[in-house]
C-alpha cells in the first residue's frame, strides 16, 4: 500500500505537484490520469525517490520512504520508464537481468524467470540476444516491463508503459497485462494520458490537473458521479465507449436475460463482450440482451 499525504514539488516557481494526497491499495492498479504536464511523472518519481518532494510524506506499507536508503528502496520498486530507458550496450537478456545481477541471483534462476516473462509479455524467446536498437518501440517497452517485473517487487510504478504501441496492439496487451499473475500480489501505480487505457487498466483512477488531484474513484464513479465540470468535460468526447468499458459483465449480470457463450464470459468489460458478440451473427440475441442489461444498469448509475 502506498500513501501520499500533502505532497508538493516545485521546479523553480512552478508548482509541478501541489499538495496531493492519495492511496494505492494492495492488489490494485491505480491510474494517474491527466493531460501532459499535469505532474503525473513527477508524482510517480517521488515514490521511488528519483525526485525528493518539497513537502508531505510518502509511506509504503506504513514506512516512510525517507527512512530507507534510496538504492535499497528502489530495489523493492519496479519502475517502467516513459520511454523504455533500456541500456543500449546491454542485450535484452542483460537488460532484463539488471536487478537480478545487483541482487546476485544465480544465473539459472535469472534465465528461467526471463524466459517466463518473455512468454507472458508475448515476446519471442530469441529476442534475448538482441540489442535494444534492434527492437520495435513496442518490443522495447515490453522489455522494459519485463525488467521491472523480474524481481517480483511489492510495488510497481509504470510511466506511460504502452505509449509506443498502436491502438490495436495496445488493446490486446492491456488484456494480457491486466491478467498477469505478477500484478495480483502488488501495488501498481500506472501513469497515462490515454483515457481509454485508464478505463481498461485501472481499478481506480486518479484524475489530475495542474499538479492537483481533481477526483479519485472507480471508472464508473468518474463517469456517473463526476466531482465537477472539469471531470465531466474530460471524459465527454469518448463518453459512450467509456461507459461500456467501465461496466464489467459482473455489473450487468443481474439484468441479463440470456446465457452468454463461453468465449465471451472472459471479457474484461461490456465493451469487449459486445465486440465479441457482434462479430458473430449467431449471437445477435445475446448481443441485444447485453445491450438491454447495460441500459438498465446505466439507468441505475445515473439515477
Amino acid at each position: 500500500m502506498i500513501t501520499l499525504s500533502g505532497v508538493s514539488k516545485s521546479f523553480g516557481t512552478h508548482k509541478a505537484v501541489n499538495n496531493i494526497s492519495l492511496q494505492a491499495n494492495d492488489k490494485e492498479i491505480l491510474v494517474l490520469l491527466g493531460t501532459s504536464g499535469c505532474g503525473k511523472t513527477t508524482t510517480l518519481k517521488m515514490i521511488n525517490r528519483l525526485i525528493e518532494p518539497d513537502a508531505g510524506t510518502i509511506l509504503i506499507n506504513g514506512n516512510d520512504i525517507r527512512n530507507s536508503k534510496p538504492e535499497a528502496l528502489r530495489k523493492t520498486i519496479g519502475f517502467v520508464m516513459q520511454h523504455a530507458g533500456l541500456f543500449p550496450h546491454y542485450t535484452v537478456a542483460q537488460n532484463i537481468a539488471v536487478l537480478p545481477a545487483l541482487l546476485q541471483w544465480d544465473s539459472k534462476k535469472t534465465k528461467n524467470r526471463t524466459s517466463e516473462l518473455l512468454e507472458k509479455l508475448n515476446l519471442p524467446q530469441n529476442i534475448v540476444s538482441r540489442y535494444p536498437h534492434e527492437l520495435s518501440g513496442g518490443q522495447q517497452q515490453r522489455v522494459g516491463i519485463a525488467r521491472a517485473l523480474i524481481a517480483n517487487t511489492p510495488v510497481l510504478l509504470m510511466d506511460e508503459p504502452f505509449g509506443a504501441l498502436d491502438t490495436l496492439t495496445k488493446a490486446a496487451i492491456h488484456n494480457e497485462f491486466k491478467s498477469l499473475d505478477e500484478l495480483t500480489n502488488k501495488t501498481t501505480v500506472l501513469v497515462t494520458h490515454d483515457v481509454q487505457e485508464a478505463f481498461e487498466l485501472g481499478h481506480r483512477i486518479c484524475l489530475m490537473d495542474k499538479g492537483q488531484i481533481v477526483q479519485t474513484g472507480t471508472p464508473a464513479e468518474m463517469l456517473y458521479h463526476p466531482a465537477n465540470d472539469f471531470v465531466k468535460d474530460f471524459f465527454a468526447s469518448s463518453r459512450l465507449v467509456l461507459e461500456y468499458k467501465s461496466a464489467t459483465l459482473q455489473d450487468i449480470l443481474p439484468f441479463l436475460k440470456e446465457a452468454l457463450p463461453p468465449e465471451v464470459k472472459g471479457a474484461a468489460n461490456v465493451w469487449q463482450a459486445l465486440q465479441l458478440l457482434s462479430s458473430e451473427n449467431k449471437y445477435s440475441m445475446q448481443y441485444d440482451a447485453v445491450m438491454q442489461a447495460f441500459s438498465q444498469y446505466r439507468k441505475l448509475q445515473t439515477a
Binding site: N48, L50, E71, A72, L73, R74, K75, F79, M81, H83, G85, L86, F87, P88, H89, V98, L99, L102, R147
Partner: protein, 522 residues
C-alpha cells in the same frame, strides 16, 4: 661516412641505434599515455560529477596544451632534471586535454533517460558509473586516447632535447649534421608509429569495446611491457654523466674525434644545447660539449678542458651570402664587412654572457656594442628592397643577426627582415640555398665538416689553422654552391668539452686526456 650513402645503408649501419630509439620512443609515448589515462579519466569523471569544475579544469588543460613543446620541456628541467622523467611529464601534460575532455563529453553525453533508468533500478553511483556511464562513454574516451597517442608520438621526437632519447635523436642530429638519411631514418619510423598507433586504437574503438575492465586489462598489459622496457639502460654507464648535442655526436671535431683520436668510448646522452649548459650547472650532467665562446661558460662557472690532442681546431665565423645576392644588393657586402675583424674571442664571450646570463635582449646587446665600436648608425628606413637575415637557434647567432640588421639598415637603403632561431645548420643552409633567407652567420668548421665533408686527409690538412680552413672553405663554397664567405668577424669559435669548475678541480681534470684517465680508472 661516405656522402652517397643510401637511406637503406644508413639504416642498416645504424640499426642498433634505430631500434633503441624506436624502443625509447614507444616507451616515452606509452608511459606518458598511460599516466595521462590514469590522471585524465578520473579527472574527466570528476568534472562530469561536479560540472562547476569543468570549465576551469578543461581551461587549464587547454592552456597547458598550447605551451610550445620546447618551452614546456624547458620548464620541466628545474623540477625533473634531464632524461626520461621531464619528457614523460611534458608528454603527459600534452596528452591530458583530449583524454579529460573526451571522458567528460562521453559521460555527459550519455542519454539522461538511460542514467535515470540505472538509478531507478537501484544502482549506486559507482555501479552506475562502471556499468552504464563509462561503457557508454567508452568509444568517445578511446577516441580521446587515440588523439593523445598521435600527439605524443609527434611530441616525443622532442624528447631528445632533454636527453630522453627517441627518434628525435636522428631527426635533430640529421638537421644539425646536414644528413638527410639520418633525418629520414628518424622521421619515417616516427610517422609510421603514429599511423600504426592511430589505426590500432581506431580498431579497438570500432570493435565496440565497452567494458571498462577490459580496457583496464589492456592498459595494464601495456604498462607491464613498458616497465620491462624502461629497465633498459637509458643513460650513461660512465662515472660521470655525459651529455652531447646531436650535432656534436656526428662530427669529426666531436664524438667521432673523441673516439678515434682520444680512444674514448663514451656513452653520452643526447641533449639539446639549449638546455645542456643549465643541466651541467645544476649537476644533472657533468661533462658537456659546447662552444668555446659561449657566455654560459663564464656565467655558470664551467671550465673548458684542454684539447691536448687537437681535435677541436678553432674556426672563424663569417656571414655567408649567395654571390647573386651581392649583385642584387649593391653596397650590402660593404655594410656586412664593417663588422669584419671587430669582435675578438673575449668580446664575443662577454656579449654572449650578456644575453645568456644577464638576460639582455640580443637587440640591446648588439646596439650597445655597435655604439661603443662607433659603428652604429640610425636606420635610414630604406625602401629599396628587403634583405633577409637568418640565424641558428642560439644566442651568439641572434646577436650577430641583430648587428647585421643595424649595419644594413644604417648604411644602405635596404630594409631587413630577420628570421632567427632556425633549427640547425641544415635548416639555415637549405633556407639560404632555396632563397628563404639571403645570409646567415656560419662557422668555417661547420662549413668544412658538416657541409663540405671532404676526405679525412683534406680535413687534417686544412684544419691546421683558422686561416687555412677559411681559405679552403671559401673557395669550395664559391665553386660548389655559388656562395661567398665574407670577411671573418674576428673571433675563433671551436667545440670544447667542459665541466663544472669545482668538480674538475676536485677530480684534477684539466685536459681531455685527464678525463679519459679518470673515466678508465677502476
Amino acid at each position: 661516412m661516405t656522402q652517397e650513402q643510401t637511406l637503406w645503408q644508413f639504416i642498416a649501419s645504424q640499426q642498433d641505434k634505430l631500434l633503441a630509439q624506436v624502443g625509447q620512443h614507444l616507451g616515452l609515448t606509452f608511459l606518458s599515455l598511460l599516466l595521462a589515462i590514469a590522471v585524465g579519466i578520473p579527472l574527466g569523471i570528476l568534472i562530469s560529477r561536479r560540472r562547476r569544475l569543468a570549465t576551469p579544469v578543461l581551461g587549464i588543460a587547454g592552456v597547458l596544451q598550447t605551451v610550445p613543446s620546447i618551452a614546456l620541456l624547458g620548464f620541466m628541467i628545474p623540477a625533473f632534471g634531464i632524461g626520461a622523467t621531464p619528457a614523460i611529464v611534458a608528454l603527459l601534460i600534452y596528452a591530458l586535454l583530449p583524454i579529460i575532455r573526451n571522458t567528460y563529453t562521453g559521460i555527459t553525453g550519455v542519454n539522461p533517460l538511460v542514467t535515470e533508468a540505472a538509478t531507478a533500478l537501484g544502482m549506486s553511483k559507482s555501479q552506475r558509473l562502471f556499468k552504464v556511464e563509462l561503457p557508454l562513454a567508452m568509444p568517445v574516451i578511446i577516441a580521446g586516447i587515440r588523439t593523445a597517442a598521435v600527439i605524443n608520438v609527434g611530441v616525443a621526437t622532442l624528447a631528445s632535447f632533454v636527453a630522453a632519447g627517441g627518434l628525435g635523436e636522428f631527426i635533430f642530429g640529421g638537421i644539425s649534421l646536414n644528413n638527410t638519411n639520418m633525418i629520414l631514418a628518424g622521421a619515417i619510423p616516427a610517422a609510421l608509429l603514429a599511423v600504426v598507433l592511430d589505426m590500432a586504437i581506431g580498431y579497438v574503438q570500432r570493435s565496440g569495446l565497452r567494458s571498462f575492465r577490459k580496457l583496464l586489462y589492456a592498459i595494464i598489459a601495456i604498462a607491464v611491457a613498458l616497465a620491462a622496457y624502461f629497465l633498459w639502460p637509458l643513460g650513461t654507464k660512465n662515472k660521470l654523466k655525459i651529455g652531447f648535442t646531436p650535432e656534436f655526436m656526428g662530427r669529426q671535431d666531436g664524438d667521432l674525434g673523441l673516439r678515434q683520436v682520444y680512444g674514448m668510448q663514451l656513452s653520452p646522452v643526447v641533449v639539446s644545447d639549449a638546455i645542456m649548459y643549465k643541466a651541467a650547472q645544476e649537476g644533472k650532467l657533468d661533462v658537456i660539449s659546447g662552444y668555446s665562446t659561449d657566455g654560459r661558460i663564464k656565467a655558470f662557472n664551467l671550465v673548458v678542458l684542454q684539447d691536448d690532442k687537437n681535435i677541436f681546431p678553432p674556426y672563424y665565423a663569417a656571414p655567408i651570402v649567395k654571390s647573386e645576392t651581392l649583385t642584387k644588393f649593391p653596397g650590402l657586402k660593404e655594410a656586412l664587412n664593417l663588422l669584419a675583424g671587430r669582435i675578438n674571442d673575449s668580446i664575443m664571450t662577454s656579449l654572449n654572457y650578456k644575453t645568456e646570463l644577464l638576460n639582455q635582449t640580443p637587440e640591446h646587446v648588439a646596439k650597445d656594442f655597435l655604439l661603443s665600436a662607433g659603428l652604429y648608425k640610425a636606420s635610414k628606413n630604406g625602401t629599396k628592397g628587403t634583405v633577409r637575415i637568418g640565424s641558428k637557434i642560439f644566442g651568439e647567432q641572434y646577436i650577430l643577426a641583430e648587428m647585421y640588421r643595424i649595419l644594413i639598415e644604417g648604411n644602405t637603403d635596404y630594409k631587413v627582415e630577420t628570421k632567427t632561431g632556425l633549427g640547425g645548420t641544415k635548416i639555415c643552409f637549405d633556407a639560404l640555398m632555396n632563397n628563404g633567407i639571403d645570409l646567415y652567420p656560419e662557422y668555417t668548421g661547420t662549413g668544412l665538416l658538416v657541409l663540405l665533408t671532404p676526405s679525412q686527409k683534406v680535413v687534417n690538412e686544412v684544419s691546421k689553422d683558422s686561416q687555412k680552413t677559411y681559405n679552403y672553405v671559401a673557395a669550395q663554397f664559391k665553386k660548389q654552391y655559388g656562395l661567398e664567405w665574407l670577411n671573418p668577424i674576428g673571433f675563433n669559435n671551436a667545440y670544447a668539452l667542459m665541466m663544472r669548475r669545482e668538480q674538475a678541480e676536485k677530480l684534477h681534470i684539466v685536459t681531455i686526456s685527464d678525463l679519459k684517465a679518470y673515466l678508465n680508472k677502476k
